[in-house]
Each structure stands twice: as structure tokens, then as C-alpha cells.
Symmetry: C2
Subunit: 227 residues, 2 copies
């Protein structure tokens, strides 16, 4: 049993390596291997936490999925709780990076937002990232640190960005409703609802998020004209 498990774990590690496309050669120095393991643990934990929630997730399952012994987890994380918090941070950081690297505002505000919405659709709705959002909603109240972090890094920035766009749209006359700048939430709300809808009700009533967002933008900017 022990033997078999060991072998399986090794095989898995190699597979992961191959997938990652490293040079076929000697594979790694210590730091690299350690980082790879950490990544594997993070990925496995993400999967487990998303499907079971924090409390119901077993570290044994994370370890097995990551192809690692349970003790190894404790070489990278203090305990289950801080693992969860760091996990959220780790996954969110690249998102923030992307938000910061948004293209400068050229073209109409409507086009900008439409592009943004398109990316959001592709990269969030119906993906692991979307599930992460739901997970944060679910566990946030019990993990103030997570809720705080998410607010600071994602929500407040996203809101500020949206507000700027809205103000630009108002200045340019693309947006009529001036008070909208007070509540960027209104602009984002349908997208968030789409995220939640997908994971709760998709099988009852599939939602064409793309189309819904377009209708919403028409509402804000006025019906689209083929200029």
C-alpha cells in the first residue's frame, strides 16, 4: 500500500513536470522543486476548498491530490487556516496584476467596457476563478482577513477603475445618468450575478451571460447604433 502510493505520487510529479514543459534534462535545484510543490499544493487546495468549502475539506485529500504527504503541507503553511488565506492571496495576485495593466483609455468608453466584460466572461464566469469568487462570498464572514484582502486588492480597485470609466463616459456624453458614478456596483452587478448564477442554477436555467451583459450595456449607454 505504502509502496504503491509512493510510486503513484512520483509518477504524478513527473507528469506535472512534463506538462510544465521544463527542459527535459536534470529537472531542478531545490528551490525550484520546492516552488513546484507549493504550486501543486495550492492548486489541489483550491480544488478541494471550492468543491467542499473550508471546514469540510480534509488536508489528507489535498495532500493526495497534490501528490505529496500531509507533513509536506506543513513545510509550506502554518496551518489549515493560514493556508486558506494564503491560497486566496496567491490566486488573486495575478488578477490584480492584470487589472493594473489595463490598456489606456482610447476609443469609446462603451468599447472599453465591452472589451473588459468580454475578458471577464472568458476568464471568470464558469471557471475556477468564478468559483473562487463564490468561495469568498461563502467563507468571507468567517475569514475577515480574506474579506479584507479581497476588498482592498480587488473590490476597491475595481470600483475605482469603474468609477473613473463612468466619469469619463459622462464627460464625453456617452452616459446620460450622471449619478451612476456614485455606484459602480450597478455596472458590475449583472456580471457578479452571472458568476453566482452559473454555479447555482446553470442546470435549471442556463444563462447567456454574454447577451445579458450586452443588454445591460445598452441600458447604460443607450441602444447600440452602427455608427
Amino acid at each position: 500500500m505504502t509502496k504503491k502510493f509512493s510510486k503513484a505520487a512520483t509518477a504524478k510529479a513527473e507528469t506535472r513536470n512534463a506538462e510544465a514543459g521544463d527542459e527535459a534534462a536534470p529537472v531542478s535545484n531545490r528551490a525550484t522543486r520546492a516552488a513546484e510543490r507549493r504550486d501543486a499544493i495550492v492548486a489541489a487546495a483550491m480544488e478541494e476548498f471550492i468543491t467542499r468549502g473550508f471546514a469540510a475539506t480534509r488536508l489528507d485529500d489535498i495532500a493526495r491530490r497534490a501528490g505529496v504527504a500531509k507533513g509536506t503541507i506543513y513545510l509550506h503553511f502554518k496551518d489549515k487556516e493560514s493556508m486558506f488565506e494564503e491560497l486566496v492571496r496567491t490566486v488573486i495576485v495575478p488578477v490584480v496584476a492584470k487589472l493594473n495593466a489595463l490598456p489606456p483609455p482610447t476609443g469609446s468608453v462603451r468599447d472599453l467596457i465591452e472589451t473588459f466584460a468580454g475578458n471577464f466572461l472568458k476568464e471568470v464566469i464558469g471557471t475556477r476563478r468564478g468559483d473562487l469568487v463564490r468561495l469568498i462570498v461563502a467563507e468571507g464572514p468567517r475569514f475577515p482577513a480574506v474579506a479584507d484582502f479581497y476588498y482592498r486588492e480587488v473590490v476597491s480597485r475595481g470600483m475605482a477603475g469603474m468609477r473613473a470609466l463612468i466619469e469619463l463616459g459622462i464627460a464625453r456624453g456617452e452616459i446620460q445618468q450622471a449619478k451612476l458614478a456614485r455606484y459602480p456596483q450597478i455596472l458590475i452587478a449583472p456580471a457578479m450575478i452571472a458568476v453566482i448564477w452559473q454555479s447555482l442554477f446553470a442546470r435549471h436555467a442556463p444563462l447567456d451571460a454574454q447577451d445579458m451583459l450586452r443588454v445591460h450595456l445598452d441600458l447604460i449607454f443607450g441602444e447600440r447604433r452602427t455608427t
Copy 2:
């Protein structure tokens, strides 16, 4: 210990009785007491599940909060899981009743929806009911039965009602954007976001839900005019 505990439970039951406003007289037959206890358990469970989530909630805590022994819970519910499911049903049923008893559409559609939004604000946002919505979002994926029930009883009905209102608004010329009828979600989205916002971010950035909903309605119906 046993004596003391018994007394406490009895006292509690009587208090509840008084509140319920039954005839002051003989206090209870067996069936009544049983129903009262069930209610106490449901209330306690609601509180615990909301604050800790399903997996992290201890039946011992529910029992203590309800002023009941753990075994008693099992006289009313098969197990923890079905207790959770029945709990959600029990709490949601009165909401459905209210939805069904909506006033017939007189007056402008805008006023109707504004009234509806007002009630929603008062009775859901920032209340236990709002927390219940968050709980359903949180646990839904792990309790398909709950998600199904919630969809069938609340979401689909609410959506149908909203769609009808929107179509009425379009017919009357109050609403310009005809395609809105395809996505009642757009109308409801900011309200849902407000619910979630309250429980996650209220302390970082309090949200004036009332005002936000008004802005949103202005967006849909056009700026309010003092006719």
C-alpha cells in the same frame, strides 16, 4: 443539574408561549409543546448555520441554544443534513407566501417596483433573511436539493413576476429598453449585490442600498420627473 436544566427549558417554553399570544390558560398539550420545540430548534439552527456554515456547526451548540438536549433534535429531524434542508424550506415558505400575495398592478410600474424594492430593503438586506441568501449561495453547490428548492420556489417565481412587470412597463412606454424583459436578472442584480455587500464589506465601505436602488431605477425608467 437535571432539575435545573428542566426548569430552564420549561421557563423558555412558557416565555415563547406568552409571546405567541395563545390563550393565557393551560399552557400546553403535548403536540403544542413539540411544535414549540421544533420552532426553537429551527431558530437556533438558523442562527448557528448562518454564523458558522453547515460543516462547522455543532449540533451540541444548536441544542444548547434551543434549550434542548441533543437527542431531541433527532426526534424532529433525521440527521444534520436533512435538518439543514428542512430548515431552509421552513424559513423560505413564508417568503413565497408573500410573493404570491403581491398587490395587483395598479399605478405606474415604476412605483410598483419602487415599493417592492423598499420592502426588499427593509425585510432582506442586512437582516437574517439576507444572511440566509448568502448561506444558500455558500452551501448551494453542496446541497443540490436546497439550490433546486430555492430556484423553484423563489428565483423562478421572482423572475417570472419581474418579467411580467417589465413587459407591462414596456407596453406602457415606461421602459425604453425592450430587451430587458429577456433578463429580469439585470433588474434584480443590484439588490442582490447589496445583500452580499452588507455581509462582506459593510464595515469597509457602507453602502446606501436605498439610494443605489433609486439610481438603478432611474437608469431603467429614465430620470424621475415631478409629474
